[in-house]
């Protein structure tokens, strides 16, 4: 039978171990690319349109000229992460542009525009 002290020690060890594990997970999480996390959240929604759809691949193909770092860094175009626009406003701007930003309604399908808007809204408010 374990003494009270031993039991307390075990609880303490378990607690510290759990804390350390959580801390590690947290650190690992913080080192993960936030654009990958946002994309992983969004991509499955659109698999019904395209198998293995990758919103980052779409973003790189169409948006990277002006929006650097998958949207995390301002350049010729503004930083997109942390936008205060609603999803509907983001969709509208991608579709119709806002000079000098081109409109993409004739280049992208409606679901692709929505996927980009979902991705932009899923980005945390961080800057490269």
């Amino acid at each position: 039978m374990l003494s009270y002290v031993s039991l307390t020690s075990i609880v303490r060890v378990v607690f510290i171990t759990l804390f350390a594990l959580l801390l590690n997970v947290s650190i690992a999480h913080s080192e993960e690319d936030v654009t990958d996390i946002a994309a992983a959240e969004i991509n499955p929604t659109y698999f019904k349109y395209k198998e293995n759809f990758s919103v980052k691949r779409l973003f790189a193909s169409r948006c990277s000229w002006c929006h650097q770092g998958y949207g995390l860094k301002a350049a010729d175009g503004p930083r997109l992460s942390g936008t205060d626009k609603t999803k509907e406003k983001v969709i509208e701007q991608i579709a119709y542009g806002k000079s000098p930003m081109p409109g993409f309604r004739k280049q992208l399908k409606p679901w692709q525009i929505e996927a980009l808007a979902d991705y932009i809204k899923a980005l945390p408010d961080v800057e490269l």
């Binding site: 980052k56 169409r62 993409f104 004739k106």
Partner: protein
């Protein structure tokens, strides 16, 4: 000093009509003979590159090293239509100054006072124009045969009466059927034709045409497709990828009267970047060398047929295209050389007489002027890249230079008396993740990239010297050998063009708005003034009634300029991107 605001300008168009009339009375027509001999006419600046030597040098020396300290603002013009700054090149002819601002607006002013004579704002198909990233750029105009000519972002070429601004003709030159979009570069007149090239290197279209348009009627005389135009080109694009291969010729080239040839630099292939890496001859989105992208093409001026070419970036994997419009004709020791800078920071020296038959140009020399590059290890004297750094799918750190290149689209200048070529470099890099992009529909004209990136400071020069910040250089070299004569470092890379004068000066419009005049012999700073905002357009000099003027456009905002807030912070993080002014200085 006279300052003209936009509203004042509009009112003045009618109110000072007599000024226009007086100028009209003075102006004589710009004939082909005048253009052909423009290097002997230093009072005027009649084409983008001043004359067909491409030197951007005027023999005017009223303003010189001894008195430049007394240079001051003579007048300025504050136009409307300046989104993303003014990027055009003013022209000065017989007492008048003409220049363009964004969205296809032309201004004609009295060259001595700045008084407006006429203005024309093209009615742009906004939806088409704004379908590209190059909107609403306009980089200048051509003058001749009684007209002023301007290309537009929606694919038109417009001829206006040079004296009145009345429309002579306004024709759609470029169809969107193959995914082409429009024009941003200045046209150049060759004989009775107006030559201009398409933008669109990053668009999934074809075929990046260069046009010759009849100056009188506005009809297309010939068309050269920079990609897919001949079998050799098509064979160099696997899987018919030329149909979405981009290309184009978006800056202003030149003309060599001795061989009756048009020299033009071409744009990059699409998609930008190639996930396949080193096996690009056999696999990937555009297998092969991708002729004639990122090349110099030499065209018969009368027929548009390919006379010669040289691909400066075979299978361009970095967007270091050849669209820089600067072609310097330099004759030495009985040899005629054509000097051409490439965006990758390389100067190519071509044998100007190695044309004819559609063969590869002979290269007399090639050398690097970029300092922090690592996309290649170097270039041979024959112009061949050495030690390519391919960028296969995945992440790559510290790739130098960034997509913006070591040399941007504006021009350097050449002082023939000193045999000195003044050139600028921009030294910054990026981290990049290359992806396999989805192939767009053929001829769709869609944006077509294969990467996402983040610009950053370089860590070292190519020779290993440590670097801790992005920077720029102004270099003075022998253009044929590449031997450095002097070098000045700029904290902020200069993006504007340079001007060389007979007064032994080189003028440098700075990114931070500081306008410098330097001693051509030493690089010593002799004069400086603050123009109030950054510059990334043209600079010229001209003379009216015996007085020399220096005219420069200001205004900030472009793809390259967009990197500056992140690289440098102030003053670029608060610099306006919707203003611009024509500043004119005199003693």
């Amino acid at each position: 000093m006279t300052s003209w605001t936009t509203s004042a300008a509009v009112k003045a168009i009618t109110a000072v009509a007599f000024v226009g009339f007086a100028s009209q009375a003075m102006a004589s027509d710009v004939t082909w003979d005048r253009l052909l001999n423009a290097q002997n006419d230093d009072a005027n600046w009649m084409m983008y590159h001043k004359d067909f030597t491409g030197h951007h040098h005027s023999g005017l020396k009223q303003i010189n090293t001894r008195n430049v300290k007394n240079l001051k603002l003579a007048w300025q013009h504050n136009p409307s239509a300046t989104k993303r700054g003014i990027q055009g090149f003013p022209l000065a002819v017989d007492g008048m100054v003409y220049y363009t601002t964004t969205s296809g607006t032309i201004w004609a002013l009295d060259g001595a006072t700045g008084a407006p004579v006429w203005q024309h704002a093209a009615k742009i198909d906004v939806e088409r124009a704004e379908g590209t990233f190059y909107n609403p750029y306009n980089r200048g105009l051509a003058i001749g045969h009684g007209n002023v000519y301007m290309g537009t972002t929606d694919g038109r070429l417009i001829a206006l009466n040079a004296k009145t601004g009345d429309v002579v003709w306004d024709n759609e030159i470029m169809s969107v059927a193959k995914g082409n979009k429009g024009f941003t570069g200045a046209p150049v007149i060759v004989k009775d034709m107006v030559i201009l090239g398409a933008n669109g290197g990053e668009l999934a279209g074809c075929c990046g045409p260069i046009y010759a348009v009849d100056a009188k009627s506005g009809s297309v005389a010939w068309q050269f497709d920079t990609i897919g135009g001949d079998q050799r080109s098509r064979d160099s694009w696997g899987n018919d990828s030329w149909k979405i291969g981009g290309g184009g010729g978006w800056m202003t080239g030149s003309y060599d009267p001795a061989t009756n040839t048009v020299w033009w630099g071409t744009a990059n292939p699409a998609p930008d970047y190639d996930y396949i890496g080193g096996d690009w001859m056999n696999d990937g989105p555009r297998p092969g060398t991708n002729l004639y992208s990122s090349s110099v093409v030499v065209l018969d001026a009368d027929s548009g047929e390919l006379s010669a070419y040289f691909q400066e970036m075979p299978h361009d994997a970095w967007d270091f295209d050849s669209a820089v419009g600067e072609f310097l004709m330099i004759e030495q020791d009985g040899k005629r050389n054509m000097v051409h800078p490439n965006k990758g920071g390389i100067i190519f020296v071509y044998d100007a007489d190695s044309v004819g038959g559609g063969n590869e140009l002979a290269v007399n020399n090639a050398y690097m002027i970029g300092e922090t590059y690592n996309y290649i290890k170097g270039v041979t004297k024959e112009g061949r890249l050495v030690g390519r750094r391919e960028l296969p799918e995945g992440k790559h750190s510290d790739v130098c230079p960034a997509i913006d290149g070591a040399i941007s689209w504006n021009t350097g200048a050449y002082n023939p008396k000193r045999n000195t070529h003044f050139m600028l470099t921009q030294e910054f890099c990026f981290d990049i993740e290359v992806v396999n992009p989805e192939r767009p529909d053929d001829f769709s004209g869609q944006a077509y990239f294969g990467a996402s990136w983040t610009s950053k400071a370089p860590k070292q020069k190519a020779d290993g010297t440590p670097v801790d910040a992005a920077y720029g250089t102004l270099q003075a070299r022998d253009p044929l050998t590449g031997k450095m004569k002097w070098r000045v470092e700029y904290k902020y890379p200069v993006l504007a063009s340079l001007l060389s004068t007979g007064g032994d000066l080189v003028f440098v419009p700075g990114a931070d708005g500081m306008f410098d005049a330097r001693d051509a012999k030493s690089g010593k700073l002799l004069w400086q003034t603050n123009m109030g905002t950054g510059a990334h357009g043209g600079v010229i000099t001209y003379m009216v009634d015996g007085k020399q003027y220096v005219a420069v456009v200001t205004g900030w905002g472009s793809h390259v300029a967009g990197n500056y807030p992140g690289l440098f912070g102030a003053p670029f993080d608060t610099m306006s991107t919707d203003t611009g002014t024509l500043m004119v200085y005199a003693l």
